[in-house]
Symmetry: D2
Subunit: 431 residues, 4 copies
């Protein structure tokens, strides 16, 4: 046991508490026939909580963590603290990048050795913990070699390095029983079109994704392959802009039935969408997978990765998750970082605990709205004309036939109220 969280006890469900406890999240509470823990499938992100130093573009490290440094011993101390936090929070899952859990080596081979040793170390810790791996992923953006992209790099050697890294990360995810493998295209984008061959880079990215899918089948990994869209930052333009963009990309490379989406609220906002839009669209396209439940400040133009704290927003998101059938391999990952002024161990616990409570409240509200049924009944009623034989026939008709009919029938369709305020009032009965 490290003493990092020395004054903090495991958090319990205590609705009356005004201290460190869950006031809304009761993992064993059954909602719509399933335990909340099994619905929500919370995961802690290793990187923000344990690897990020608190820097920003105008200032350096603010956090002072005893495990900061680039040695195997420190990496193990970091892992020890991480599992202590997982236990305090009683979370069922965590997520990692390779670069979060192992020290960088001087060569590919050394980094790989470090990585494999840490995978073993973490696997051992997982044996005595309830916390499992939601997903692993490769960090193909921090090191300067990736500055012009990983799969989309103009240098084939960097594509090769990236592909090899993905292979190792997929192996480790598989070994650790991970439920998914994620690709976020950190530097897969461009700064200026003037030096960019957009078509080539698109082909390179498509090919790497195909290779990852092929490799998944080869090694028998049963988890899902997830792509995480983001519109910009770090690059001026990221190729995986949003769900609709990635869908077109998957169709182009024949991957739409092999790959699903890991959708982040913050990235949705940066793309000009609501979170629920991205979720509903992924569901409509059959590619919904998992979520990163961390908000962006609507008024800051960079990725603020804050813990969720607005219950009504969260409720609308889980409403779409539930309508999509809920999570299968996916879950609720907090890709959230403390504000850089939140220096203390207790801030780390409180940030996660508050987020879990906000999610629990939002989720229960979403479930209640769905069980109540009013919203869905009003939606169905609005489109009822399309369920009639006439409505169905229309979609199978053609312009000339329809035009003749419109004139023959002298139709004069009148608009009906969209009832937006009434629907918003109904939502407010539940949140």
């Amino acid at each position: 046991m490290t003493d990092f969280f020395k004054d903090i006890s495991p958090l319990r469900y205590d609705p009356q508490s005004d201290g460190l406890a869950f006031r809304h999240y009761n993992p064993d509470e059954v909602v719509m026939g399933k335990r909340m823990e099994d619905h929500l499938r919370f995961a802690v992100a290793y990187w923000h909580s344990f690897a990020w130093p608190g820097d920003d573009p105008f200032g350096g490290q603010t956090f002072e963590r005893p495990w900061f440094g680039n040695t195997m011993d420190l990496a193990k101390m970091k892992a020890d603290v991480a599992f202590e936090m997982f236990d305090l929070l009683n979370v069922p899952f965590f997520c990692w990048h390779d670069a979060d859990i192992r020290p960088e080596g001087d060569s590919f081979a050394e980094s790989k050795r470090n990585f494999e040793e840490m995978v073993d170390y973490l696997s051992e810790k997982m044996e005595s913990s309830k916390t499992k791996l939601l997903w692993g992923t490769a960090n193909l953006f921090s090191n300067r070699r990736f500055m012009a992209g990983a799969a989309t790099n103009p240098d084939p050697d960097i594509f090769a390095w990236s592909a090899a890294t993905v292979k190792n990360c997929m192996d480790a995810t598989h070994k650790m029983g991970g439920q998914n493998y994620v690709l976020w295209g950190g530097r897969e984008g461009y700064e200026t079109l003037l030096n960019t061959d957009l078509k080539r880079e698109r082909q390179q990215a498509g090919r790497l994704l195909q290779m990852a899918v092929e490799y998944k089948h080869k090694i028998g990994f049963k988890g899902a392959i997830l792509v995480e869209p983001k519109p910009q930052e770090p690059t001026k333009h990221q190729y995986d802009f949003d769900v609709a963009t990635v869908y077109g990309f998957l169709k182009e490379f024949g991957l739409e039935s092999e790959v699903q989406m890991n959708i982040e609220q913050g990235h949705a906002i940066l793309a000009g969408h609501s979170f629920e839009h991205e979720l509903a669209l992924a569901s409509a396209l059959g590619i919904f997978g998992s979520i990163d439940m961390n908000r962006n400040d609507y008024q800051s133009g960079w990725d603020t990765d804050q813990f969720p704290n607005n219950v009504p927003e969260v409720a609308l998101a889980y409403y779409e998750v539930l309508k999509a059938g809920g999570f299968t391999t996916g879950g609720t990952n907090f890709d959230a970082k403390l504000r850089r002024q939140s220096l203390d161990p207790v801030d780390l616990i409180a940030g996660h605990a508050g987020a879990m409570d906000v999610c629990a409240r939002g989720f229960k509200a979403a479930a209640a709205m769905l069980e109540d049924g009013t919203l869905e009944a009003m939606r169905s009623e609005r489109y009822a004309g399309w369920d009639t034989p006439k409505g169905q026939a229309l979609l199978k008709s053609d312009l000339a036939t329809i035009a003749a009919q419109v004139e023959a029938d002298a139709i004069n369709p009148q608009p009906r109220s969209g009832r937006q305020e009434i629907l918003e009032n109904i939502v407010n009965r539940f949140v």
Copy 2:
């Protein structure tokens, strides 16, 4: 002859002029083996120039045009003035919505009769004018019946009305020798997910687009079917968000080889993209068609539809157009409106003339950059590694093989400068 432009003479090419003349646009100047008029293919938009009253959300009509009103006589006066302007500007093309050119009738049938009479009237005018039809389109957004969408309306009757309207507009476009037919999804989007069945609406929109393609083939229309993306406004979320989104949509409905893009600078900006990005992407995906060359104020969150006035920006756009092979059926449409304070006839002429000059300057700069070849040589050099046998083989390999090779070769790829500032300096030699 009306007397609307009574004091204004036809504009001539006169590089030294400080009055109403073209200082840069010489239609007969040959650039890269083709006359500029044939490269640029300018078009005037009927709606902004002749139908828009100058209102905005906080104020009503500012323009006082003698043809404003809803009678056939006024519609014909409007057409007369329009062709007088086309002549003054010597533009080869114009574009219309049905609602721009005909008075609204009390029924579908009456509107159609009005429309057909005006199509004949315009066709007659075209016989004695050089100005041809670049494209026609249907206004499926202004009338209150479309408030909840046209193809995507919850009411099948409105789908039918819309389909019938598209049929009539395609017929008219075909009859008038139009080079393209455009669909812009004005109200094809939503205000709130709470009352929206996104999946259904997507199917409806896809089906209407398929019907339009089927009808094109049925009537032997040889022009292109173009979709015009826009991310939002009037709706909170428009389905045709941007080029990448529409590409996914076309793939879903099997239309990617039947439909091309009409890309507007202003809409690109509202979607968070540069214009050149959208052009390059459409070209990479094989769906580039035509452009609306009207800028948006980068700092206003609504569609400002201003005439282009920044030559360097325009040059980068035409550079992508030229790299895509230039226009075939497409052209340069000014979907631009005067500022609502620009009340006078001379403002209408000056707005277009200035825009044509800006385009001519930008186009000539783009052609010079392409003929110079430095930019393309630097781009090719940057990706040269991919053209080697080793680079080509890499794309056909697999993760395990690549990973083994990376370790065996102990590669350690080093980043190379992206040379953005140098490339920007090169561009500035031409603009």
Copy 3:
């Protein structure tokens, strides 16, 4: 009695209702020693609810109201319906522009006569209604004469017209017992600097505001003069950008103790601020007055003027209002419009009722947070060093003295946690 709201009964406080009732707003409930009605001071905006036709930049009128038109009889029918709605909602206040309540005449004099007759008509209605006037204001932006500004117009005659209109509106407000008089600078801004003399226009605006203050004192109007900031739209740049900007303007013209702010959430958002920021700043500067409680879609770049529906956001706003001492002459105006698809009378009632409930919930949460005291205690503790004699002395010292002391004491101050997540969790206990 008109029959516009014929099927709708007056709304009652009924926490269990799932129909048209107040579930949270109980006007007589005492919070922090005062009735909620007296705290919140709700007002209905005449313009959005009764004068706006439902148009937007891409489409015309959607609402069909029997009182639409430009006659005195219709204006009186509109007034009758308005007071019927005030009664149904039991609101204590309403607000108007001159142009909302009277038909436009053919001349200044005729408009004035219409206005005065309607002021009398409304005054009479007020006698039998609980609903009083929160504020009046002049519409100096809709008519084309104001297209280049009112006070800031390049034409002195339009300044004169505007000044005369303000005079008449102030007279009417005074006569009707209005609690405040508001100036929103609809067209007081510019489209392009190229035709604008920013310094002149600033002087003109400053002078008109001085005249309004002088006139207030002359006629003995005891209400507050309020300025309403907005950053842009309709103009590219509005002079009254935000609270900080208006404060500088007031200081320049010596008006900072004469004029207060009417702060709108939607305008705050368009300016890149949170609503609570604008409220806190106005309070810190001693110029807080009243609020427009209508949200903007964070992702739409135009003024969406939606009814509030997010309780946590509203709670943070009322927290600042309460810290500022609550409203004196000010109140909670809904400068909110129905979505243009919300066609029915019931939508108008439901929009307001839902908003009043959201405000009531937010307000009660804010009061509870303040009474609880934890947030303020933590804030005070954070700045406690400044309350010590040493802290106080520091502000009276000088650079040289301080520098000597820093070296002499060899201070090495360490950062302390800002506790943002913990504070956000505390808020979530109340909302």
Copy 4:
């Protein structure tokens, strides 16, 4: 001599060059009666060019500079390279933060000793160089002690540390003959209102600024004190949002005749303003000082600090500078960083050289527009009514008098065209 720029020769003015040369910037060319060097007063920013490692929020150092490290020897090598670049570029000025030029010490005293030694070292280098100091400033944002602000910190000791640092930086600026002293409020803002006492922090900031002004007079520093506005980033809300905000702040603390503005294009854009707006406003308010000529990507929500490359934009900015009377103590500072992929020494030279050429072109265009006089004549004509006795009298009148006159005269003012497109066309004749 270091060998960092070993293959690069001093840049010359050579209009025909397609290599590293000035194609437009000729320091000795006389424009409007003054040498261009004396008009433009270019300055290189020490921090971006020599201290920034190329990191961003998603990746670390990309630049490999032999002087990176925290020793005095490396600091001197950095200074040597800096002056070699100043010589190659022939720039008349540079700018620094204390933290750019000296290694951080273990204590305030040690940092100060390092700083003073480096000030001497730089002063010595300046003796044999043409390059002078445009301004110095204190870095009060990078170190973790400033994470919650410098002057606005809740901890008075950090205020003291900051004040002492400002004193030392002002001393050094004075000693080095600096023309201005700048304060940019890097962390003077907040992340969340929940832990912030906005009023207190405002008082603290005002007091530090007063102290700086008092100290300037005490030591006889003749340069200007400049404040640099920025709306957000690093903090969610910066107190010095924009020019209008800072003006109100200066008025509050009685500093409007003591402090001027250093206006950055990128910050203007982030605040939702055009650069020319901020310049024109500062000029109108009498607080224009100096500029940071580095653009922001209009579509990236963070500070991109790119070299200027759009001539028309730059021309409009210098037009306002010239109208304000040109620079006195101020100048054109490039607070611009290379893109992090621009690794090579030549990129550093090319970035600056290209920017200087863009500025020269823009400046010459601005001067030509001013000398041509058409724009100003049209502006004056537009406001001519205000220069008549009647217009002047109007501003001295009062509401009642004006209202009586409006009715008596039965005025009916008609709008006149704002001529925006024509004005934009005129500008395009010069850029």
